[in-house]
């Protein structure tokens, strides 16, 4: 009551102008701040970072910007997992280039906290990248690289290669370079890669009178074949679980179920429940099984030495590496998974230096052992590994593995076969684009295959979730 009277005398004008000035000043201050922020995010700004601590402090993941006045170029190189090979490459490069300092940052964690640490790493890296900051170089294996590309956050190595006369494509597995592209360009440099395939018992297959053209076979073909094989030499045809088989079958007939541009899915159809029941039958007939020896094992081959060890580990004498079946319209060729894919941040201030280091990483200057994880992208490096394997004549196997440390003889013919598989790998397997479709199908179909829910109920759930995903 009293105050409202106080509010109205002629002093009001004073208050108004005062407040007006004040609000204007506040607004101005806010805008200046805004502007400053925008400027900082836009460019420059790096040396102004205030950081505490010694530069190059090992064991700390802190971004420490070396002061530029020393004339040293600093590259920040980020990887989720600590990696000795990368550390070795960094050390060697720094020894050759004293003017460059590379900070390799990794997350120290254990299995129990991996998921939580990964969430943190993802959030921090995604945010920093989007803010135009972040490391100069980063290992993209566990990052949504396809989204980075879409947002223009990575440098296209194709363009750097085109401008760089010292880069000779012939020195590398060109099939890998050509097929590791995402979004129409080479944004993730696959410094090395794994092979995915099926290890199969060639002799047992021949005995059953089955002929396999693994360059062109599809999962549908596989399903037909398996009827002839089941319960012959071996009880099962393939060691896997039905939900994965279902995914493979779906990927074979993807256009039947998903129309991505239109955003429609057709999983609540008789053809999908039919497919589920077909896989269920395969499981009941024994085509799919986890126990005992089957004709085929899905395998990932990590290195030349692993090629020998993996194929022998399944305790069948005559294993051969077959190309994994795939959809007819997918074209021929095997599957590869890039390992240690390197991305170059589009906001990096030292792109030239970073590119030079990337070239060093894929060069043949730092040799690897034949059992080192990942086939090198560099052919010369690979040739060195093979040379060493031949010289040694045998591959030592793991003591705790199925072969109990018994060495395996290296057969030069098999090495030729391996080279064929390596140069024939054209299908990219990666986590650059999270495969939501496969995740949904795998997760939901378990309830059907374990007899907990009907095919129709599961198909409805899948239909709803996929529709949601497609229309986001």
């Amino acid at each position: 009551m009293i105050r409202s009277n106080v509010m109205r005398p002629k002093g009001v004008m004073d208050v108004k102008t005062f407040i007006k000035k004040r609000t204007r000043a506040t607004a101005a201050a806010s805008f200046i701040l805004l502007f400053a922020l925008a400027a900082c995010s836009g460019g420059g700004g790096k040396p102004s970072q205030i950081q505490i601590g010694e530069s190059g402090n090992p064991g700390s993941e802190t971004t420490i910007q070396a002061p530029t006045k020393t004339g040293k170029t600093t590259l920040v190189f980020s990887t989720l997992f600590p990696d000795n090979r990368l550390q070795e490459l960094v050390n060697q490069y720094e020894a050759l280039h004293p003017e460059v300092e590379i900070q390799l940052q990794a997350v120290q964690t254990d299995d129990a906290h991996l998921e939580a640490e990964m969430e943190k790493y993802l959030t921090q890296t995604n945010t920093a990248m989007l803010a135009g900051k972040g490391p100069d170089l980063l290992v993209l294996d566990d990052l949504p690289a396809a989204s980075y590309v879409k947002n223009g956050l990575l440098v296209n190595f194709d363009e750097l290669i085109a401008q760089d006369s010292t880069f000779k494509k012939a020195d590398y597995f060109s099939n890998i370079l050509d097929n590791a592209k995402i979004g129409g360009g080479l944004y993730a440099m696959p410094t090395s890669f794994f092979l995915h395939g099926l290890a199969g018992d060639e002799e047992a297959l021949a005995k059953a009178g089955v002929e396999i053209n693994d360059q062109s076979w599809s999962w549908n073909d596989f399903a037909v074949l398996s009827q002839q094989l089941v319960n012959q030499t071996y009880p099962h045809v393939i060691r896997t679980e039905p939900q994965y088989m279902l995914n493979w079958m779906v990927s074979d007939n993807l256009s039947l179920f998903v129309d991505e541009p239109k955003g429609t899915a057709k999983f609540n159809t008789a053809s999908f429940t039919g497919l589920m029941k077909q896989v269920q039958d395969m499981s009941e007939d024994g085509v799919i099984g986890l126990e005992g020896i089957p004709y085929f094992f899905p395998v990932q081959i990590n290195s030349p030495a692993d090629y020998f060890e993996s194929l022998k580990s399944y305790l069948s004498p005559n294993m051969k590496l077959y190309v994994k079946p795939h959809a007819q319209d997918g074209g021929t060729g095997g599957y590869f998974q890039p390992y240690r894919s390197i991305g170059l941040n589009a906001s990096s201030k030292a792109k030239e230096q970073a590119w030079d280091f990337v070239k060093f990483m894929i060069s043949d200057q730092v040799p690897v052992e034949p059992n080192h994880a990942g086939f090198p992208l560099n052919k010369q490096l690979y040739a060195q590994e093979i040379q060493q394997l031949k010289k040694e004549g045998s591959v030592q196997t793991a003591k705790e593995g199925p072969l109990k440390g018994v060495p395996i003889k290296v057969d030069p013919d098999e090495l030729d076969a391996l080279e064929q598989v390596l140069t024939g790998a054209t299908h990219l397997v990666s986590k650059f684009q999270p495969d939501q479709l496969a995740e949904i199908i795998t997760e939901q179909s378990k309830a059907f295959f374990s007899g907990q829910k009907s095919a129709e109920a599961v198909a409805d759930l899948i239909q709803n979730k996929v529709t949601t995903y497609l229309n986001e």
Binding site: R22, S30, P144, K465, T468
Partner: protein, 286 residues
């Protein structure tokens, strides 16, 4: 004189808060919203309302918005009625008042990991609820992958936030002068009359606060729901938070910010209504 003093006081009282608020909240808020008008986060340019048009064309966004509206309009009023009722009952002074009160606000302190684990024990396919159903001769229910999921979400929200609102209401009730009730009683006003004319009226500012915080807290159960039911949960409980979280994971910042801006706009309408209601209360008080 008095006026000059008051305006100088406004400055002094507000300055620290406004300064910090501008830097840490207002600027990010404005930058966030401005993202929704561009085509790309880094080096993007102005595209007007394109993102909004795309957003409204997205079936999943519309579904998420409808689900959120449904969830909020069931759970928030329910929570407010329940917590206010409990606060009034507690105010009547039961035995072991403090112990009971503490028990009621305990869910607030349980860390996310335990919340998720305990709820899993109950609502999992092999969980305790299904064990009871099985015992009673019924078939199992997939609590999080069926029509029941919305119910689970509402119960989780009520359980988690009842204590929060209870604290607020108890503190709010504490501030109503006792003699108001005495005067009313002397004048022969009944219980209902006292409740509507005194309690509710004088609780208006608290109520306004509780409504808004309850809405904000309804977004916050997302982390638990996410850990329980994943990024593509059952259709019914796919809410805006799922949409926005998935958009962030896919780095679709433009769609994310546009969605958030629309949501904030809708709530802003509600806030303005509440603010004007509250202004009436102030007139009563002054």
């Amino acid at each position: 004189m008095a006026l000059r003093r008051e305006s100088a006081a406004v400055m002094l009282f507000l300055a620290p808060s406004v300064l910090g608020f501008s830097v840490f909240y207002l600027i990010p808020f404005v930058l966030g919203i401005s993202q929704s008008l561009t085509n790309r986060t880094l080096g993007g340019h102005f595209t007007g309302l394109t993102n909004y048009a795309e957003l409204l064309a997205s079936g999943s966004f519309r579904k998420a918005a409808a689900n959120t509206l449904l969830f909020t309009s069931i759970s928030v009023p329910l929570l407010i009625v329940l917590s206010l009722g409990l606060a009034l009952l507690i105010n009547k002074g039961p035995f072991f008042r403090q112990g009971l009160q503490t028990a009621l606000i305990l869910p607030l302190v349980v860390p996310v990991a335990s919340v998720v684990l305990v709820w899993q024990i109950f609502v999992d396919w092999n969980g305790t609820l299904n064990a009871w159903l099985d015992h009673a001769g019924h078939s199992r229910v997939d609590w999080l992958q069926s029509g029941a999921s919305m119910g689970v979400l509402v119960v989780l929200y009520l359980w988690k936030n009842l204590g929060y609102n209870l604290i607020l209401f108890l503190a709010g009730l504490q501030q109503i002068p006792r003699d108001y009730y005495e005067t009313a009683r002397i004048e022969g006003a009944g219980r209902w009359h006292q409740f509507t004319r005194i309690t509710l009226v004088y609780l208006t500012p608290t109520l306004f606060f509780v409504v808004l915080i309850s809405i904000i807290n309804s977004f916050k159960v997302f982390r638990e729901t996410y850990l329980l039911a994943g990024d593509y949960p059952f259709d019914r409980i796919y809410i805006l938070q799922h949409y926005m979280n998935n958009m962030f994971a896919a780095l679709e910042i433009q769609k994310l910010t546009a969605a958030a801006t629309l949501m904030v706009l809708c709530i802003a309408i509600l806030v303005t209504v509440l603010l004007s209601l509250e202004r009436r209360f102030r007139d009563v008080l002054d």
